[in-house]
C-alpha cells in the first residue's frame, strides 16, 4: 500500500508556509521527541514499483545520540549506537561488527530521526504542507544534485510522526510507518550499549580506530 502521504495529494490548495517556518516547524515537531519508541513497518519497493522487501523493526531513540534499530523479520539484525560506537549484530550469522560512530556523518534518515534539522536544512529545501489542523506533511527536496534522494516526505498526524518516505535517485523507495508509538517515556541508556554474547563462534569485526581495548565479551 502506498504510504499515508501520497505525492498525488495536491499541494496547491493546502496552506504552504515559507520554508524557514517549515524548517522551524519540522524542528519543533522532531525536537519534541526526547525519547521515541515505535514498531516500524518497513516497505521497500524497487524502481518499477515491485516490492523488494517488507520488514518489521523495533525502533528506539534517545536524544542526543541514542539510536536502536532492530530488524525482527524477515531476518534478525540489530544496529545500535550510543553516539560513540556503532554495533551491527546479526545473530543468525553469528556476526558482529563494531565501528567508531560520528553522529555528524550519519545518514539522512538517522539525522532526521535524530532531529538534526539544522544540518538537513542546509542540504534540502523543506516545504511544509498542512493536510489538516494538526496533520502536516514535510517534503524535502535536495538542493544539490549529488544527493542520494530525489525526495523525502515526513508525515505527522496530531503532531506525532506517522511515516517517512525516502525516494532514492535510482527510484527505489523506502516507506517507514510508525506504530505503537511511545513519546518521551523513559528509556535506559544501557539500551544503546551493546554487549556481545559470550559465544566462541561469534565472528567479531572490530573496525574501531583504537580496537586494542577489550571487546565487550572478553
Amino acid at each position: 500500500a502506498q504510504g499515508a502521504s501520497s505525492e498525488q495529494a495536491n499541494n496547491s490548495d493546502s496552506a504552504t508556509i515559507g520554508t524557514d517556518t517549515a524548517t522551524e516547524r519540522l524542528t519543533r515537531l522532531l525536537a519534541d521527541l526526547s525519547t521515541f519508541r515505535a514498531d516500524v513497518r518497513q516497505l521497500i519497493t524497487e524502481s518499477s514499483g515491485g516490492v523488494l522487501e517488507e520488514s518489521d523493526i523495533l525502533f528506539m531513540l534517545k536524544r542526543p545520540h541514542g539510536f536502536y534499530w532492530e530488524t525482527l523479520s524477515p531476518f534478525p539484525e540489530l544496529i545500535v549506537t550510543n553516539g560513540d560506537t556503532l554495533w551491527n549484530y546479526q545473530p543468525d550469522l553469528l556476526q558482529l561488527s563494531i565501528e567508531d560512530w560520528n553522529p555528524d556523518e550519519s545518514e539522512l534518515a538517522a539525522q532526521l530521526l535524530g532531529g538534526e534539522t539544522a544540518a538537513i536544512a542546509e542540504e534540502y529545501d523543506i516545504e511544509a504542507v498542512q493536510v489538516a489542523t494538526n496533520d502536516w506533511e514535510f517534503v524535502l527536496r535536495p538542493l544539490d544534485q549529488a544527493s542520494l534522494y530525489q525526495r523525502v516526505v515526513l508525515y505527522f498526524v496530531d503532531d506525532l510522526l506517522e511515516s517517512i518516505l525516502l525516494i532514492n535517485t535510482n527510484g527505489q523507495r523506502t516507506l517507514w510507518e510508525f506504530f505503537n508509538r511511545q513519546v518521551n517515556e523513559p528509556i535506559a541508556d544501557t539500551t544503546f550499549n551493546f554487549t556481545a554474547p559470550d559465544d566462541d563462534f561469534l565472528d567479531v569485526i572490530d573496525n574501531r580506530a583504537d580496537n586494542t581495548h577489550e571487546t565487550d565479551q572478553l
Partner: protein
C-alpha cells in the same frame, strides 16, 4: 560433519543428471543477504536476484536504506544504477561492478554457482556430500562452498554459499528461493 567421500570420479551419472536439472532451471528468484569481507573491511546488504533465461535484475540494498543498487542485465549489455549516481552501461559487468561496488561480483558465473552447480567451462576439486549434493569446487580462481541446502518445492537449493578469492570472501546467506512452478512460493 564427517569426511565426505570425494566423488569426482570420471562419470557420476547421478550428478550429471542433477546438474542438468539445475542447469535447466532458467526462471528463478531468490532474496537473501550478501556479506562482503576483505582484509580490512566487512559490510552486508540485502540482495534480490531475478533471472529469466538470459536477462536478470539484481537489487542490492543496505539496512537503513544505504547503498541501493539495481543491476539489469541482458546478453551483451548491463545497466547499473547506484543510489546517487547516474546509470552506467557496460558489456562486461564484472569490471564495472568492481568499480561501482568496490568488490568483485562474478555475475556471469554466479548465475550458475548460486543454484549449486559450476558454471560451464573447467572446474576442479568437486567435493560431494550425501545424496549427491555438491559441497565445494574451484572455478576461475574462486573457491565455492555450499554450507546449507533447503527444499523449495520439488527442488533442493543452496541457502548458504561462501565464495572466496583471497582476500575477498562473499557470503550469500538466508537465501529464500522462488521458482515459477512453486504454488506455495519459497519454503524457508
Amino acid at each position: 560433519c564427517t569426511g565426505t567421500p570425494r566423488i569426482d570420479a570420471p562419470v557420476n551419472t547421478e550428478w550429471e543428471q542433477r546438474r542438468q536439472v539445475l542447469q535447466d532451471i532458467s526462471h528463478w528468484e531468490f532474496i537473501g543477504s550478501l556479506n562482503v569481507r576483505d582484509a580490512s573491511d566487512a559490510h552486508s546488504s540485502r540482495i534480490r536476484w531475478q533471472q529469466q533465461d538470459e536477462t536478470y535484475q539484481i537489487n542490492l540494498w543496505g539496512t537503513f536504506n544505504v547503498g541501493a543498487t539495481q543491476i539489469d542485465g541482458r546478453p551483451g549489455e548491463v545497466q547499473i544504477v547506484q543510489q546517487g549516481e547516474d546509470p552506467v552501461f557496460t558489456e562486461s559487468p564484472e569490471t564495472l561492478l568492481y568499480q561501482e561496488l568496490g568488490y568483485e561480483l562474478p555475475v556471469t558465473e554466479l548465475n550458475h554457482w548460486i543454484k549449486g552447480i559450476p558454471a560451464p567451462g573447467p572446474s576442479s576439486n568437486l567435493v560431494f556430500g550425501e545424496s549427491n549434493q555438491l559441497r565445494s569446487f574451484q572455478q576461475i580462481g574462486w573457491q565455492v562452498s555450499y554450507m546449507a541446502y533447503t527444499n523449495f518445492g520439488l527442488e533442493t537449493l543452496p541457502t548458504r554459499i561462501r565464495i572466496e578469492k583471497a582476500p575477498l570472501r562473499l557470503d550469500l546467506t538466508r537465501l529464500r528461493w522462488t521458482l515459477p512452478d512453486l504454488q506455495a512460493g519459497a519454503g524457508n
